[in-house]
């Protein structure tokens, strides 16, 4: 009782002093047993998702698909209302991921004077600190330097003169150092002096200073993933080694609380400085009080809302003695992962007690939560913050306008996939030409001795009609449908995405034998039913479109590779007359095939194509390769870019009708393409596809 009375006036005095000068000073007069509750709020892996919007479909997303920082902002507001003392941090991978991110970094790089949209949004929310993620390196060090308004101390990477737009909060990282300077490229940690409301033993509330250290870590793999941007410029150390150095340093400088922002997941394998997801091991470093994790886009601890997603299997498999997935404790350290794209807010509540002249974290009463957008009842999603939509509206609209901008090249022919299964290549040849161009250029300019030795080997390419009925009768590639030589059509920025549907694919090259090529073509030809020429029943040429992306169509420059498909033969013996430059392809012949990572690593189960024949892995997306190639053309013509049909059917007379299902109303397209096999449009089937009559004797 006496202590309480005697201590209180002193604390009041200290508190008043602090309020007056606003700085942090030691608190020798804080009564023993005073408590302070701090809620560390965290976002991670926002990936430039501001609004709940899908830039690929150019459409908003709502309901259970809601995402974006504008929605998280509502969670942040609620958490701030619930907790007197909060700290808001972000754990990296904030700047890359949507078309908006690419637009601001690559397509129309923002000037020094501007601030990235994601940082403007974060500034409006008053973040206290942030770490980097691996994706922050995707756009290169000069861009990072500009957008953080920070000299990274890396030789050859100059920060633009003057003050560039940047986040208001400090951005920290402790395990990436400049090779030229030997110093970290960013502050390894920041010491934040904050005044928080504490509770005296008598229950009274008082404002006291707290020194919070925030440290950042990225996976060492950044050097591999972004070698192009980073090799020879920066070095990466293991996260535990960095933590051991800088946590101790921050503590020595008076940090009361240490928050680690670790852009990595939880992996219980023995520690190695090379490991990608080393966050778990940070809890073994003395002095870490709260751990914010990310990178693997998971929810930790387990979602608390009713009917929430169950704990991811990889997290459930972590040893229970180390990891408590209900409370969110790793080795007793409160730990959180807020999924990704702004769909969750990490909330770590720390209880500090003033004991023996310092703040001590009460591990037993700390808690962690990964709060989702429907946290109240599991089904009502928060309303995204309208103010933020206004704040970033200009950037949002500019991105949408960009997607609809002209690409800078005209086409004199329509590119469609309606009749790709009877030989039309109007939507495929240009992709193959772009891929061949890319790989030929690579082989001509490489310094790699192995790749150089492949210089004389023919480069061919394959691609598929990716949008050809898989998702219904309306799901067909159809770019510039009105184009003709009399009135060419300007392609738009988004059209490469129509021609090459899978934005997740990277270009790769494989080196194969003629025998592999034949097996590859046979596998593609599995798409066709075996046609019985004697049958009088209706036969569907392509019974299912579910794996139509595995119908690889090959091409060599000048249409030098040709082959025929005999659909009357069983799977595995349908390819005949396979020729390159007019000569039969020998089993022992060498070819380099430009394709994608899906196929090269085994997608579709093509014999022998399982990663073992890959000779080159590009960081460039096939979609980007196509876009870049299109931009370099003066114009596209059917003669040069749309009529190089490598394959045809072996002519067969059938007793009964053969049909091909496609979108209704496209007979004129077949006629303009010069496909005499397509003779008539028939009735619709139950799914809305029109049944076109196919004459295989033509």
């Amino acid at each position: 009782m006496f202590m309480r009375f005697s201590a209180t006036p002193l604390v009041i005095a200290t508190s008043a002093l602090l309020a007056a000068c606003g700085s942090s000073v030691p608190n020798p007069n804080v009564p023993e047993g005073t408590t302070l509750e701090l809620a560390v709020l965290s976002t991670t892996d926002l990936h430039q998702n501001l609004l709940s919007y899908d830039y690929y479909r150019l459409a908003g997303v709502s309901g259970s698909g809601t995402l974006g920082l504008a929605a998280t902002a509502s969670l942040i507001k609620a958490a701030r209302a619930e907790n007197a003392n909060t700290l808001l941090v972000d754990n990296g991978d904030a700047t890359q991921g949507t078309l908006l991110g690419d637009f601001q970094a690559l397509d129309q790089p923002i000037p020094c004077s501007a601030t990235l949209a994601i940082y403007r949004a974060m500034n409006s929310l008053g973040y206290d600190a942030a770490g980097l993620g691996n994706h922050e390196f995707n756009y290169g060090l000069p861009f990072l330097s500009q957008t953080l308004n920070t000299d990274l101390g890396v030789a050859g990477v100059a920060k633009p003169a003057g003050n560039c737009g940047a986040p208001n909060h400090p951005v920290v990282n402790s395990n990436v150092t400049s090779i030229s300077s030997g110093n970290p490229i960013l502050p390894p940690y920041v010491l934040l002096n904050r005044n928080y409301v504490a509770k005296l033993p008598n229950g009274d509330a008082y404002t006291l200073p707290l020194k919070v250290a925030v440290l950042g870590f990225v996976p060492p793999q950044v050097l591999d993933w972004d070698a192009k941007n980073l090799a020879g410029k920066v070095a990466v150390t293991g996260v535990v080694e960095s933590a051991q150095k800088y946590v101790a340093e921050a503590r020595a400088k008076g940090a009361d609380v240490v928050v680690a922002l670790s852009h990595g997941g939880l992996d219980a394998s023995p520690y190695s400085p090379k490991m990608e997801n080393a966050s778990l091991h940070l809890t073994t470093v003395a002095g870490v009080d709260a751990l914010v994790t990310g990178h693997s886009h998971l929810i930790f601890p387990a979602a608390k809302e009713p009917n929430g997603p169950k704990l991811d299997a990889s997290l459930a498999a972590l040893p229970a003695g180390t990891v408590d997935s209900d409370k969110g404790l790793v080795n007793g350290v409160p730990t959180v992962m807020a999924q990704s794209w702004g769909r969750r807010l990490g909330i770590i509540k720390l209880t500090l007690v003033w004991r023996g002249g310092k703040w001590v974290v009460q591990k037993g009463s700390s808690s962690a939560e990964s709060r989702g957008l429907a946290y109240t009842d599991g089904k009502t999603f928060v309303t995204p913050d309208a103010g933020m939509a206004q704040l970033v509206d200009a950037e949002h609209q500019a991105t949408i306008a960009y997607a609809k901008q002209p690409l800078g090249v005209n086409t004199d022919f329509a590119m469609s996939a309606y009749f790709a299964l009877v030989g039309d290549v109007s939507a495929i040849q240009i992709v193959n030409q772009a891929q061949i161009d890319y790989v030929k250029n690579l082989l001509a300019t490489t310094t790699d001795t192995t790749l150089k030795s492949y210089a004389g080997i023919p480069v061919i390419s394959c691609s598929a009609p990716f949008k050809a009925g898989r998702n219904g009768a309306g799901d067909f590639t159809d770019v510039a449908p009105t184009a003709s030589s009399a009135s060419p059509v300007a392609l738009q920025v988004r059209n490469p995405g129509d021609l090459y549907l899978y934005g997740n694919n990277n270009l790769q090259a494989v080196k194969i034998k003629g025998s592999d090529l034949k097996a590859w073509l046979e596998t593609s030809a599995k798409q066709f039913a075996q046609i019985d020429p004697t049958s009088t029943a209706v036969q569907d040429l392509v019974p299912s479109y579910s794996t139509i992306f595995n119908f690889d169509v090959f091409y060599a420059e000048g249409n030098a590779l040709t082959y025929q498909v005999d659909v009357t033969k069983p799977v595995g013996s349908r390819i005949v007359n396979l020729r390159y430059q007019g000569q039969p392809v020998a089993d022992s012949a060498d070819f380099i095939v430009a394709t994608n990572d899906y196929r090269a690593s085994g997608g579709g189960g093509f014999p022998g194509i399982d990663g073992s024949k890959t000779i080159y892995k590009s960081l460039d997306a096939n979609q980007a390769v196509v876009a870049a190639y299109l931009r370099r053309q003066t114009g596209l013509s059917r003669a040069l870019n749309g009529s190089g049909r490598a394959w045809s059917f072996v002519k067969t007379t059938t007793a009964g009708p053969v049909v091909l299902r496609s979108a209704p109303g496209k007979l004129a397209v077949a006629q303009s393409l010069g496909l005499p096999q397509v003779t008539a449009e028939g009735s619709l089937d139950a799914s809305g596809y029109a049944r076109y009559s196919i004459d295989l004797s033509k």
Binding site: I179, P273, D312, T450, G503, N505, Y598, S601, G603
Partner: protein
């Protein structure tokens, strides 16, 4: 730049003069190996060499491997890299053995491509359940590379590689179960291993998992929203998993 080079030189001299302390643990060796590979720092290379130990001293296989990997980044030092990696592999380091096998097969480290010569290295690493080495042997068996085709042996190797953590092996194992290669078809196992490979962000597996969520192949429960999420994940991951 120049003062730093001088400093590095002095450090090297100092290191030559006084013997570096023994490594604290395996992580310390790997940490120095990373530094040596990334910065080409002469002092780091020298310390690694000291730790690796020259005959007649017993070899520290881990330090020899890290030294070999650091030297391998420089084509001019391919011979030295091979020598240290060979010593490490001979002393039981599986990663070194796999590195040598891969270089031998593809024609790295100054070798001409020779799949048959790569095999003993892969086998040595596979004996320690090295995932990439098991995968290499599995692919050789399924493709008949420098050996007769053997789908049954390939399946067993894919199982081992998958259990050892290779996402690419999990993906190929999923295909083997789906298509009945070296085994009777088993859709449940095909589904299981596809999901496992996708969880580990193997690009083709992420794509096939997204497709399966869309159309229910392999008995996967259709979920349009989860599919969209998976496509987005795959799009983001392509920048990480491109190698």
């Amino acid at each position: 730049m120049r003062p730093r080079l001088v400093a590095t030189g002095l450090l090297a001299l100092a290191l030559a003069a006084c013997t570096p302390a023994a490594p604290r643990d395996a992580a310390a060796v790997e940490a120095l190996g990373m530094q040596a590979a990334q910065t080409r720092d002469a002092g780091a290379l020298r310390t690694l060499q000291h730790w690796a130990g020259a005959a007649p001293a017993p070899l520290n296989a881990l330090a020899a491997r890290e030294l070999g990997l650091a030297l391998a980044a420089d084509p001019a030092q391919a011979d030295q890299a091979r020598r240290w990696l060979t010593q490490a592999a001979s002393a039981g380091d599986a990663e070194a053995a796999w590195t040598l096998g891969d270089a031998q097969r593809r024609g790295g480290l100054g070798w001409t491509p020779d799949p048959a010569a790569a095999r003993p290295w892969f086998e040595r690493a596979a004996a320690a359940e090295h995932p990439a080495a098991l995968l290499a042997l599995a692919r050789a068996a399924r493709n008949g590379e420098a050996q007769p085709r053997d789908p049954v042996a390939a399946l067993a190797l894919l199982q081992r590689a998958s259990r050892a953590g290779s996402a690419q092996a999990m993906y190929l194992l999923s295909q083997a179960y789906a298509q009945g290669e070296g085994t009777a078809p088993d859709l449940a196992l095909a589904r299981h291993w596809l999901e496992q490979a996708a969880e580990r962000h193997h690009p083709p597996a992420m794509q096939d998992w997204a497709l399966a969520l869309e159309d229910g192949r392999l008995g996967v429960t259709r979920d349009a929203e989860a599919a969209r999420e998976q496509w987005r994940e795959a799009g983001e991951e392509r920048r990480n998993r491109w190698r």
